[in-house]
């Protein structure tokens, strides 16, 4: 059962935290599009995409060696992180429905991970 190496777990955790930060850059960069579509080339969008691409490489490596039931819940931690970043960077309220929804999603993805084993 316990075959997932610690390195895979650490890789996925790091990729989740960093990946969710990528979404913050995308949101910042996407705001420029409201001034016109040609503003799609900006450093914030570029950083966001680079972060997403960069964080997919550790995922790919980790998923090759680890078990989904262990790694999936950690992937979904990125959604929890996004709640925190949204509060920090965009002052979006952390409401009870949002937290409850994230708990459901976390539980759901954990179940999917267990079912995939």
């Amino acid at each position: 059962m316990n075959k997932t190496p610690l390195s895979s777990i650490v890789l996925v955790l790091m990729a989740s935290v960093v990946g969710s930060l990528g979404a913050v850059f995308l949101k910042r960069g996407a705001a420029h599009l409201n001034r016109g579509f040609r503003y799609i080339v900006n450093w914030q969008l570029a950083s966001g995409i680079a972060i997403f691409m960069g964080s997919s490489i550790p995922f790919l490596i980790a998923l090759k060696h680890g078990e989904l039931s262990v790694l999936y819940p950690m992937v979904s931690l990125s959604y929890m992180c996004s709640l925190f970043w949204s509060k920090l960077f965009f002052n979006e309220p952390i409401t009870r429905p949002k937290v409850l929804a994230l708990c459901l999603i976390l539980a759901g993805i954990t179940c999917i991970g267990i079912g995939a084993n």
Partner: protein
């Protein structure tokens, strides 16, 4: 439609719904990309040791000749573009977790393409994720 007043709150909630639909579109792209990446992962690849630079180049060359992988990344680009369009409006804390719906599509697509079987855990997980995403969609419509 003609009788609906063009008030600012109604307008903004319409815009945030549009963002939600765009992110839902994202999840379909993301799931398709993941299935393609899975096909790509079945492609034989040389062992890559991140600490040994001499293994980097053969790994990179194998990556570039892995068409499923490349197509998967194309779909990921489409996914990113839709996500960017979605994030123009709406709350990140609502829109970003909706991406988790792609796990549901991946599960369903895997049953078709990789003949994986449904089980109680997967079914429960799918229902929980759909419930969570539904709740998020409702959370955003509140001021």
């Amino acid at each position: 439609m003609t009788s609906s007043p063009a008030e600012a709150p109604a307008h903004s909630s319409k815009r945030s719904n549009k963002s939600i639909y765009l992110v839902l579109g994202c999840t379909v792209f993301a799931a398709t990309a993941q299935v393609l990446l899975k096909f790509g992962a079945n492609h034989p690849m040389p062992v890559m040791n991140p600490t040994d630079t001499s293994t980097w180049m053969p790994f990179l060359m194998a990556l570039l000749s892995n068409y499923y992988l490349l197509l998967g990344y194309c779909f990921h680009s489409g996914n990113a573009l839709l996500l960017i369009l979605a994030l123009r409006d709406g709350e990140l804390s609502v829109l970003f977790p909706i991406i988790s719906l792609s796990y549901v599509w991946v599960d369903l697509l895997s049953m078709y393409f990789f003949h994986e079987h449904m089980n109680v855990w997967k079914a429960a997980g799918i229902l929980l994720v759909i419930g969570g995403v539904t709740l998020l969609g409702r959370a955003s419509s509140r001021p």
